[in-house]
């Protein structure tokens, strides 16, 4: 049967709603969440839209339960998502490690807000870049995309689902609160998303690996007679626990990380412009990366040799790409709406070629003012 053709449509959508629509387009059929500013609109939209499509929406008792519920649902074969902000993400961390260890596809949207602690719920902040990668205990690799527009809230949500399904791993959408709340024109796809579906194990291939395959093992979903043994404890390719041998843990960690590392080049996407002859390159991610492009473009119009780089994939980190784009520049200025979370990673990658420093906005939470950035570039 041919895919249903939907006419291309332009809609004025809030970023959070665009994310929810992206989830539906990607085939999300299960959402569990807990209300939190500035992510709540995602849950509200899916609470309306999932039940008529035979999907499940449930508001759980907290964020720990929310991510637990989506992991449980994912093991029945559903495409699953939750959405939260920094405080909720902190609560989710143990179970996110469980999703990594059990190789459970799921999408986690983090619409970031200003902390630490309760902070100010609606003030935009890029405060969770490191948390999504290093917030759970143990060694592991993370995949995270950072949208800079309502359109990317849609597109990268679809991509997050496809990536989660392909790699059997949690994938993050790391959004600025301002992008979540901003309304912009979103072009909906002309056709239903083809969508990536996880490979599923069958009784016929009994004996084949169910876990710890760097090529991604087919998932032994529940209810198919596969006697799946799913545990967050160290386990082998069959899923059977080994909590005795250090070698088993070594194998467990290396295989899980290797699974992501081997496709690193496919995952990393970077937007950039005017870098070829640039003396100064502005680097930023999310909405700040978009502003960096605006400021670089203005500086260019004023005759300065300025370029810009916006990592769309935040994890795995775009170190190789940054080196190739920035190594000829005298200076790299990292703009972030935080006190410098991506900065050390850029320094580690590019520092041996160029002078790398960072600039926070004058008031954390707001975009950098163009005049402030132009001033910093002149310094």
């Amino acid at each position: 049967m041919p895919a249903t053709v939907i006419p291309a449509e332009q809609r004025l959508l809030q970023g959070n709603v665009a994310c929810a629509e992206g989830a539906l387009a990607a085939g999300c059929s299960f959402f569990a969440g807990y209300p939190i500013t500035p992510a709540t609109e995602i849950a509200e939209h899916l609470a309306r839209e999932l039940p008529p499509r035979d999907g499940v929406f449930i508001q759980m008792e907290d964020e720990i339960a929310s991510v637990a519920a989506i992991i449980g649902a994912s093991w029945t074969g559903a495409k699953v998502m939750t959405a939260t902000s920094g405080p909720g993400l902190s609560l989710m961390q143990e179970n996110l490690g469980y999703a990594v260890g059990t190789e459970t596809p799921c999408v986690i949207v983090d619409v970031q807000r200003g902390g630490p602690s309760t902070g100010i719920p609606a003030v935009p902040s890029q405060s969770d870049m490191v948390q999504v990668a290093r917030g759970s205990h143990g060694d592991y690799e993370t995949v995270a995309f950072a949208p800079s527009s309502a359109q990317e809230m849609f597109d990268l949500t679809v991509r997050a689902f496809d990536t989660a399904e392909r790699l059997r791993t949690p994938v993050f959408l790391l959004a600025d609160a301002a992008v979540g709340h901003m309304r912009e024109i979103v072009t909906m796809p002309a056709q239903a998303c083809a969508g990536v579906n996880r490979r599923v194990a069958s009784v016929a291939d009994n004996g084949a690996a169910r876990f710890l395959d760097e090529q991604v093992a087919p998932m032994p979903l529940f209810g198919r007679g596969l006697k799946a043994h799913v545990t967050g404890s160290c386990h082998d390719e069959a899923g059977m626990r080994n909590v005795v041998d250090a070698e088993a843990l070594d194998h467990y960690v290396r295989r899980l990380s290797g699974k992501i590392r081997r496709v690193r080049d496919d995952l990393v996407e970077v937007a950039s412009g005017d870098t070829e002859d640039a003396e100064i390159i502005l680097v930023g991610w999310g909405l700040v990366g978009r502003a960096a492009q605006a400021i670089a473009t203005r500086a260019r119009q004023q005759g300065q040799r300025v370029g810009w780089v916006r990592p769309i994939t935040v994890w795995p980190f775009a170190d190789v790409e940054l080196v190739s784009l920035c190594r000829e520049a005298k200076r790299v200025l990292v703009l972030e709406n935080n006190m410098g979370q991506m900065l050390p990673y850029v320094q580690a990658a590019v520092g041996r070629y160029s002078e790398v420093d960072g600039l926070s906005p004058r008031i954390l939470g707001a975009l950098h003012r163009p005049t402030d950035v132009l001033e910093a570039m002149a310094a």
Partner: protein, 264 residues
């Protein structure tokens, strides 16, 4: 050993290669595993229709790895939240939760009351040994007042949870309590819990001679069994008792919803 288990009537439900358990000598978990499998056997149920969900702690090991079925061994305390996701996403699945009192009622206490409030169609077997066994005998929310544990060297403070009353108040529509001294009744309640459309909570008081028995002075598994049998009173017997004697007794039986079973 292998010869013995291979001929055991419940052996067909065990995951091949996992016949030798890691439970301590005298532990009640084997009796509970047996009682649950007997219920499945008596119903003629297919193990492939089940998902067993369990948490961290000794009781979590009852289904994982020993039951030859889909099993989800979760993070500590979040057992019911994982089970909620499985059940809602695939309602035709028979979701059975087997976990300990520490997992379900301490770290997981919030999920317990909310799962009961939703009256979600889960069968929960709460294995209550009144202590943290796996980590070496620390106080639990179910430890009786005064018992000296590894973390209450001067005696446990506060009253232990009455778990059956807790989940009843939260909305559970089938609630039963038994001890490992009444395995046939455990089997019957598990059958009835699985037939029941709603949140079925079965508390099983069990002996942990290695930790609780030693620390409380209740002693060996055999002695603990005698104590459990002696303490157990039915609802009717409890009504006839002097209220002052009740704290020393465990009311066993189907405490809530005995007449609900089989109805939607």
């Amino acid at each position: 050993m292998t010869t013995t288990t291979a001929t055991h009537p419940m052996a067909k439900y065990l995951r091949p290669g996992s016949e030798v358990t890691t439970f301590c000598p005298g532990c009640g978990d084997g009796v509970i595993a047996h009682s649950v499998l007997r219920a499945i056997d008596a119903d003629g149920a297919d193990m492939d229709d089940f998902v067993f969900v369990c948490g961290i702690g000794c009781a979590g090991w009852i289904p994982s790895p020993y039951f030859n079925a889909d099993t989800l061994h979760t993070t500590h305390g979040r057992t019911l939240a994982f089970a909620t996701g499985v059940k809602l996403a695939k309602p035709q699945t028979q979701v059975v939760v087997i976990s300990g009192d520490g997992d379900l009622t301490a770290i997981g206490g919030n999920h317990l009351i909310h799962a009961a409030r939703r009256d979600l169609d889960l069968t929960v077997i709460c294995v209550n040994n009144r202590i943290y066994g796996m980590t070496g005998g620390q106080v639990a929310p179910t430890t009786p007042e005064g018992v000296k544990t590894a973390t209450t060297p001067y005696g446990a403070e506060g009253r232990p949870f009455d778990l059956c009353r807790l989940v009843e108040a939260a909305g559970a529509s089938y609630v039963a309590r038994w001890t490992t001294a009444q395995p046939r009744f455990i089997t019957r309640s598990v059958q009835r819990g699985m037939a029941h459309k709603g949140f079925a909570f079965i508390e099983v008081m069990t002996q942990c001679p290695v930790q609780f028995g030693k620390l409380s002075g209740e002693g060996s598994a055999v002695h603990m069994h005698e104590i459990m049998a002696d303490r157990s009173v039915t609802l009717r017997q409890a009504e006839a008792l002097d209220p002052a004697d009740l704290p020393d007794k465990w009311v066993v039986g189907e405490l809530v919803g005995a007449t609900n079973v089989g109805k939607d």
